[in-house]
Amino acid sequence: MSGERLLTINNLSVTFGGLHALRELDFHVDEGEIVSVIGPNGAGKTTFFNMISGMVTPTSGEIIFENQSLIGLDPNQVTARGIARTFQNVRLFANMTILENVMVAQHCRTKQGLWGALFQTSSFKREEEEIREWGEKVLGFFGTRLVGYRLDQPASVLSYANRRRLEIARAMATKPTILLLDEPVAGMNPKESEELTRLIGELRSEWGFTIVMIEHDMGVVRDVSDRVVVLDHGETIAQGSYEEVSTNPDVIEAYLGRPAEEAS
């Protein structure tokens, strides 16, 4: 059911002071796909996200999104092109209200400046209204979790699970084409992660997002992914459907380590 090719990554490498965080990586995402990126700790998964979102500039290689290169763009420009992300260690604007968190994320989709705010022009008021409505709409995606009296509460009062939800809502609010979710269910209990897994499916089916997700929880990976990419030491060691990948000996070795006699 996958459509056009959205994102193509060719031969991507990055080194930090001689350390290869990513090495000659090839990767692609088609429209409407849900791709999971898995791999042991330190495999370079988060660096991979940082690179797509423009927070780290690759040493070599190319990233092509909707037929245009993303190399050299600032993170805000990448977001404006239509790639939004969440963070592994939840980074909300803790002292802004929940609603403001999703409102501020629409910055690059809106354009009112000083003039409108100071003179309260009708276009300013209209845009504020639209920002608010869209913000409430994305918050409403999580059912009653984030709406109601909570809208005016600072984000810092939220529980861990709700912070994760709000982060996803914030990324959704930027009106992206691709959502990059960095460990969306980390720290959630089984019930919550099951609920979120269902919602991730809805993000594609109802909201039309294409999703790339880093995840450690294999249950979640199995349930939602069309395709799984395995990274280890900055290289792709396997990709394919969950079943193919989970039986691949290289993958098992990367997770469990080599048998003792070979390692020495």
């Binding site: 979102s53 423009g54 927070m55 600032d74 993170p75 805000n76 977001t79 404006a80 939004a84 992300r85 963070f87 260690n89 939840v90 980074r91 909300l92 604007f93 803790a94 002292n95 802004m96 403001e100 409102m103 501020v104 994320a105 629409q106 910055h107 690059c108 989709r109 809106t110 009112q112 400046g113 000083l114 409108g116 705010a117 100071l118 309260q120 300013f124 845009e127 504020e128 920002i131 009653t144 979790r145 600072p154 810092s156 009062v157 939220l158 529980s159 861990y160 699970a161 709700n162 912070r163 914030r170 990324a171 930027t174 720290g187 209990n189 019930k191 919550e192």
Partner: protein, 606 residues
């Protein structure tokens, strides 16, 4: 804190934390000796609070034993930790602390009598000795200070024993008497214009200070207020906060109207000196409001903020004065202030861009120092011979005419009331701008940048542009203040634009409360109005010797104890006390009832 907390029984008198007592005592002794040697008792002795018994000089030594005697007995109320009831133990602790502190002063008396250290310590004087010994011999002084220290400490400690209501009454009474005494000039000024001279004559002694019967009157009124009045005020506040929607909006409108009316009417009943004071407060408020956008909303610590004040002042002076430097071509006309203001806005904006662009990508602390450097560079350039032909060098630009308000009035320094109205008008603009921007797309982007810059960038905010905009808006507001300053003083000199100004504005913003307009207003009124600006005298002119010292101490104390400022912005408070807040909420089980398993105690890295 709730009143229902169950207290454990009071601890025994000897069950003391002796180490803490000695620490507090030594701290007190050190502070008292420092205050004495800083010349506060002698310098403030002429400022009579209550005729004939109390001068501000003695008060400078007396308030600390009382305060420390009280605070030794206070414990931090922690959620989940048993608190003990207060008893004789706290009184004894207070007395011990006071005694050690009094001992410090006594020791100083002995030293003053036996050694001459006047060479490095300029205030080591016979007057100090005489004052500390109550003109009664060294032995008397030593004994009395021990008694005073112990007594005040005891008094402070025993404040724990009386009921909270009584405590409130006592503190309100004391504050009211001191406040009425300190604000004598302004209060008698107002009283005169309201035909209440008889009241002023009753309260105040002829040559300054509150008379005994006046003090008693004030104390009674204040006490009565504390018992009955404060409840009514609280009730009104609560019912205001309970208002919603349209009613709330109307209430807001009414209160804004009241404030505006007061701003317009108050100067009419005030004398020249007080109006001058208000005009200075306004100038600094305007600066503080601008800096508040930069540091409070966008989180950029700009220490060279005075540069924009200088640009505003110099541009206005050069464009309006006949006395500008010789190097200007003659075809540049002398223009009206209002016309000059247009150019001031443009130039300040450009300066903001020019200074902002190189620094905007730097990390916050480097940015602080570099902006400070820029502030200094601009002042040095104005001062230098190189640009002296344009800026007048050390002689500055003089003969700046006043503000021609479309031929209706000429506002200048000789008429502080008019200056105040002008400043108030621009402050109103600044407040409007801050308020509207905070609730707009740009304001939200500023806050996001303040919270977490790299995430803000990842969420599609062009942080460079957004921060530059904050810089420019702040710059323009500061330049307004500079433009009015030039017209008010009638001249500009490089010495008016030293780094000290930046730091004082920073202190005003921080003491008032970063990111909060009401806080910034309160900060300016209290600090600039009462203590005075870097060069401008405040209400307490006697304090001018000590005001910078007090500013420094206040800044440190605020950062340590109350980083959210006098009037806190709820958000900033949470940000600054996040750990405590979350911990308490977690212990009370208040975080997020909606989630069964919310791991609420965890703090997401900011």
């Amino acid at each position: 804190m709730t009143d229902t907390t169950v207290l454990a029984p009071a601890r025994g008198v000897l069950d003391q934390d002796w180490r803490k007592i000695v620490n507090y005592g030594l701290l007190l002794a050190l502070a008292e000796v420092f205050i004495a040697l800083a010349n506060m008792p002698v310098g403030l002795d002429d400022f009579i609070l209550i005729e004939p018994i109390l001068s501000l000089g003695y008060v400078s030594l007396l308030w600390l034993p009382l305060l420390l005697g009280y605070s030794i007995g206070t414990e931090k109320v922690l959620e989940g930790v048993t608190s003990h009831a207060k008893g004789a133990r706290e009184v004894v602790a207070g007395a011990c602390v006071g005694l050690i502190g009094g001992g410090g002063v006594s020791g100083l008396v002995l030293l003053l009598d036996n050694f001459d250290l006047r060479d490095p310590l300029v205030n080591w004087s016979p007057q100090l000795l005489a004052l500390l010994a109550f003109d009664n011999g060294v032995g008397y002084g030593v004994g009395v200070w021990l008694a005073i220290g112990g007594g005040l400490g005891l008094l402070g400690g025993s404040m724990h024993l009386i009921a909270p209501l009584a405590r409130r009454v006592v503190s309100t009474m004391v504050l009211a008497v001191v406040g009425v005494a300190v604000l004598e000039t302004i209060l008698s000024d107002i009283a005169e214009d309201l035909f209440l001279e008889w009241l002023a004559d009753w309260i105040y002694f002829i040559r300054g200070g509150v008379s005994l019967h006046g003090a008693a009157t004030v104390a009674v009124v204040a006490g009565a207020y504390a018992v009955w009045g404060s409840k009514a005020v609280k009730g009104a506040k609560a019912s205001y906060q309970a208002l919603e929607g349209v009613e709330r909006k109307q209430a807001n409108k009414v209160s804004i109207a009241v404030v505006v009316a007061a701003t317009i009417l108050l100067p009419l009943v005030l004398g020249k000196i007080t109006n001058e004071l208000l005009a200075n407060v306004g100038l600094f408020l305007l600066l503080a409001l601008g800096l508040n956008i930069v540091i409070g909303l966008a989180g950029i610590l700009d220490l060279g903020y005075v540069a924009f004040f200088a640009v505003g002042g110099y541009t206005t002076a050069i464009l309006t004065s006949p006395n500008r430097g010789d190097s200007w071509p003659t075809w540049i006309p002398q223009v009206w202030w209002v016309v000059a203001l247009m150019l001031v806005i443009v130039l300040a904006g450009l300066t903001g861009l020019f200074i902002g662009a190189p620094v905007i990508r730097m990390r916050g602390d480097y940015l602080a120092i570099v902006t400070l450097g820029f502030g200094e560079i601009i002042r040095l350039l104005f001062l230098s011979d190189w640009l002296g032909g344009f800026t007048g060098g050390a002689q500055g630009v003089t003969n700046v005419p006043g503000v021609q308000v479309f031929g209706l009035a000429n506002v200048r320094g000789t008429d502080p009331r008019a200056v105040f109205y002008l400043v108030a008008f621009f402050c109103a603009i600044a407040i409007y701008v801050s308020w509207r921007l905070e609730k707009s797309r740009i304001g939200r982007a500023w806050m996001a940048v303040r919270e977490d810059e790299s995430v803000a960038e990842a969420m599609g905010i062009n942080t460079v542009n957004v921060k530059l905009l904050a810089f420019v808006v702040g710059a323009v507001l500061a330049s307004f203040s500079g433009a009015i300053f030039a017209a008010k003083v009638g001249s500009v000199f490089p010495t008016s634009f030293i780094i000290l100004v930046s730091i004082v504005i920073l202190i005003v913003v921080i003491v008032g409360g970063m990111g909060n307009i009401a806080g910034v207003v309160a900060g300016s009124v209290v600090l600039i109005g009462v203590l005075g600006g870097p060069k401008q005298p405040g209400l307490l002119q006697e304090f001018s010797e000590f005001k910078l010292l007090i500013y420094g101490a206040l800044l440190v104390w605020m950062m340590l104890k109350r980083p959210e400022g006098l009037i806190p912005n709820v958000r900033r408070t949470r940000e600054l006390h996040q750990d405590e807040f979350l911990q308490d909420a977690w212990l009370k089980g208040q975080i997020d009832e909606g989630d069964e398993t919310g791991d609420g105690g965890e703090v997401a890295p900011a």
